[in-house]
Assembly symmetry: C2
Homo-oligomer: 572 residues x 2
């Protein structure tokens, strides 16, 4: 096995490596720092990386460097921090979004048409052209665009493009035809088919519930699209300094994509996976979590469950009615028995359980369930609550019990604060995005982005966590600034905290002897910079397992998976 | 990666190994032989195995052995042949059959009840008790057994046991209740619910079409059952000297079971996998066959398609009607367009295609399709026809074209010859199980067992191939003996031929330098023994990748996967 793997690695990785594959590496002349889960920072000036990709030695100013190393990287005094962990992403979603057409920066219909046509020409093999982001207001069009206007860009393949708000879709004639939408098609419940004025003919735009008439016909991504999407997602993460993620809702298709990448040496970013359902969890893991695969790059930890919806669409399950929708308290997607049965099915085989809970009702219910489950499923379970956005102040102390992990996304607060105030009113904001209170209650905290909902940029997250202001510095002084956390705590929640939340402590997350050499060289010192400066951090280099996998100055990455598979995919 | 794997191997394998894991091994004092695809035999007296599990050197009588080896195995003059390849098995079927209760050796109802009760007590965790093989005639019962008689053995869990012929099932009261079968349940089409005399109450036995009323309620195997089944299947194969198989119809559940075994060091037998459907093929392989995984132990080669049924049930698609069912020509499960579309979908991404074809109509159709496809899909495709049982003599020459592989099962001939005569009549037997003619037509031939339909015993297959007689030597002189093959050809079809059929040549299948050290020590010389003697061969030792994985004198195998997963399956 060993020899074959060495062979495989030797074949695949050289393009990625400026250094010999297996040799001691000295990285010195650095302003190195690492932080533990408590937020305690340790500084160092150099490290030795063994031929196994792990840190062999951490050197401080007074330590003597080894004389005999095979590769030497001069840090030129730059700052080195641990690789960052994004504890809540939808990995394939990041990649598939990157592959689809983005019209959000177009300012006229003509510009959009040009961009659509160019995109279609660039991907002649795609059976459908999918995209998003258009906005007829931004185009100063004063009306919806038409199927005919889309046909002008792409006449020969179906095209379907979502509006910027996700509440309308623009189809060309081919797509309307594939969906069987004609003058005779009635508007579906909760939806509207825009019609050509003075006729019943569909005009091209489908609103809300009518979108599914077309979107249900869009074929699922092809395997080559999935492979390429994973490549794109990894590229994006590496450029942001993200070296490990928790993938929240891994389908069997996603998992097989991860394994294909692992089997062919193209899995770079570390993935802690949470299956999208109990059945996928069992299909993948069988009687328990998988081992760590591909040198700590992939593990099925457990399952992701959904207990409620989101705040914006009033799907978050609140204890009391929405301020802006009296009588509504959101959606409880699982009743108490269902939630406990699903948690129990996972826990009985030591799978880790991560439950999506946004409203205070949902959070209380998960905390109740964990409390009850903890009697049966003892030991180190690390129950996770994903988002934990709105928590009744009376429940915050309960986060500290049973080691319940709060997996939160700082940027959601700065993006959603105005909406949250409308939904909750002024009196229920005490437990909203309550990072400091939950941390102070003793809960292990892990930070993430929820990408592709938000950009997977941990530096934006750290800045938001420190200030509760957005990129424009709004609101001045921060929104409920009593819930900010220190820079050390924020960094810990993106490093050691994220590793702990995924049972990866000791493997990666901190720069210390025996751990994977996952680190970043960045252009400023996060311990000395202002929050707004931290937000602008440039990642100069990203290293994973002792190998440089991203360099801002040049493209050192693997080439994307080939679509041309004539010869190399033959029988052997 | 390397260090982790070494760590993993060191943790998992010692129990299996009488020798250091990584060191040169000398196996000498042997009557060694290997055969190439042409049937040419090479003899040797010793071999050196490198620390990678591959053959470093083959030594002949005059060669000097190396002085410095880490482990020495004295063959004591025994015969050594390559590990045998079974080119058509249902791997999980072998294991699941081994896990279910077998009543075929019971001679009274009381004995059966005792065996059922003991089995239920042995597997207290199984939610259902499943079994087969009962025969009320063998019990001299003169009637079907009853649900009450089964309740006497197992009252607390549902039980469902198939009759020896598969045409009836015996349920206990729990199973009848789960299935909702009551006095009010009508007999389904094509089936009969046995009733208690003088009443409408179900008696316990369900005939033919009524069996599904219960069997549809049986839950699929649990992951721990699948893991255990794979272990049992491997144990059985190793004891028969089978070191590699082609798995014909791998479901996604099967594949994940293989990977779990590979990931935890419990995959011993090499698997060349053919997905059970195009969609599973794409889900697993994505844009092409997987790489060889786990040091040549697992690869998704392609897909298995079914073109017709079987001869016994008159499902085989014949060119002319069945002799014993005038007007019937069997089942064509795919029309010509479907067959070509499915073959094309696989071939376009260089997946290998294996088509089940038993009747002469089906074989002609696959040969037609291959002929047409070969214009489009050039190169080394190795189209496989599985079974190729009944071939129109006019079509035999066509097997030689385009390298079409005939994957055949010698024991099917000896088991089925009387039935085949009835189905085909005397005039259509020329192309039946026509091993020699197909070989002489230039087709690469691979032999297998179709286990669990037949026992996975290659020595029985070699004997049948050489003689066309069964274990009792019937019929005297052999059935259509002109279709026997030489012992060398038979051995080649179980070794080098099987490797070639699965794109594994150069990796395993022959004992030569650079190939995996997969070999058997057996108690007789197949080049000198009679066919009936070969049939009685005892496998003394089975080695895979330079490691002894089976020894007839003692249990050196891995322990089975544990059901007790309290601590070791915890988070880390």
């Amino acid at each position: 096995m060993i020899a074959r793997l060495l062979g495989g690695v030797a074949l695949v990785l050289p393009a990625l490596l400026p250094l010999p594959a297996l040799a001691d590496t000295l990285v010195d002349n650095i302003n190195g720092m690492t932080v533990d889960r408590d937020g305690d920072v340790t500084h160092f000036t150099a490290m030795v990386i063994g031929d196994d990709g792990r840190i062999a030695k951490i050197l401080k100013r007074k330590d003597k460097p080894p004389k005999d190393v095979d590769y030497h990287e001069d840090g030129k005094g730059r700052t080195v921090i641990p690789g960052l962990i994004d504890s809540h992403v939808h990995l394939m979603g990041i990649g598939l979004a990157a592959l689809s057409l983005d019209l959000s920066d177009t300012h006229s219909l003509a510009e959009a048409q040009q961009k659509i046509a160019a995109y279609a020409a660039r991907y002649p093999d795609r059976p459908w052209i999918i995209g998003r982001g258009w906005n007829q207001e931004q185009w100063a069009l004063g009306r919806f665009p038409t199927a005919a206007e889309l046909d002008a860009a792409v006449p020969d393949r179906p095209v379907f493009l979502e509006r910027v708000d996700g509440h309308a879709g623009w189809a060309n004639s081919k797509a309307l035809k594939e969906a069987g939408i004609t003058a005779a098609t009635p508007d579906p419940t909760g939806g509207r088919i825009e019609r050509i004025a003075g006729s019943k003919q569909p005009a091209g735009v489908l609103v809300d519930g009518a979108m599914a008439l077309v979107s249900d016909d869009i074929p699922p991504p092809r395997p080559e699209d999935r492979d390429l999407a994973l490549y794109k997602a990894q590229q994006e993460l590496l450029s942001h300094g993200v070296t490990a993620v928790a993938d929240m809702g891994t389908s069997i298709d996603d998992w097989m994509t991860f394994r294909r990448a692992g089997d062919t040496g193209r899995l770079t970013v570390r993935i802690m996976s949470y299956a999208s359902s109990i059945s996928d969890m069992i299909l993948i893991g069988g009687t328990g979590p998988t081992p760590w695969l591909y040198d700590d790059r992939l593990r099925l930890n457990g399952v992701k469950l959904y207990l409620d919806g989101a705040l914006g669409s009033r799907g978050a399950w609140l204890k009391a009615p929405y301020s802006d929708a009296p009588g509504e308290t959101g959606l409880q997607l699982l009743n108490g028995t269902q939630l406990r049965n699903l948690m129990s099915r996972a826990a009985m085989d030591h799978f880790q359980v991560a439950v999506h809970a946004i409203g205070d009702g949902a959070n209380a219910e998960v905390l109740d369930a964990i409390e009850e489950m903890s009697e049966t499923y003892k030991g180190d379970r690390r129950w996770r609550i994903e988002h934990a956005q709105i928590v009744d102040p009376a429940d915050i102390a309960r986060f500290g019990r049973y080691g319940t992990i709060a997996s939160m996304q700082p940027v959601h607060e700065t993006s959603d604060r105005v909406m949250a105030e409308a939904r909750l009113g002024p009196d229920r904001l005490t437990g909203a995005y309550a990072w400091r209170s939950i941390h102070d209650a003793g809960a292990p905290v892990a930070f993430g982005s929820d990408a592709p909902v938000e950009a997977p940029d941990p530096f934006a997250g750290i800045a938001a966590a420190m200030t509760r202001t957005d990129a424009d510095g709004q609101p001045f002084g921060g929104w409920h600034p009593e819930e900010t956390v220190s820079r050390e705590q924020a960094l810990a929640a993106y490093t050691a905290g994220g590793a702990y939340a995924g049972f990866a402590e000791g493997r990666f997350g901190e720069l210390k002897e025996g751990e994977q050499a996952d680190f970043l060289m960045i252009d400023r010192d996060p311990m000395l910079s202002s929050a707004q400066d931290i937000r602008s951090t440039t990642v100069l280099q990203t290293w994973i397992g002792g190998r440089k996998v991203y360099d801002a100055r040049k493209d050192i990455s693997d080439p994307p998976p080939k679509n041309d598979k004539r010869e190399e995919k033959a029988g052997r």
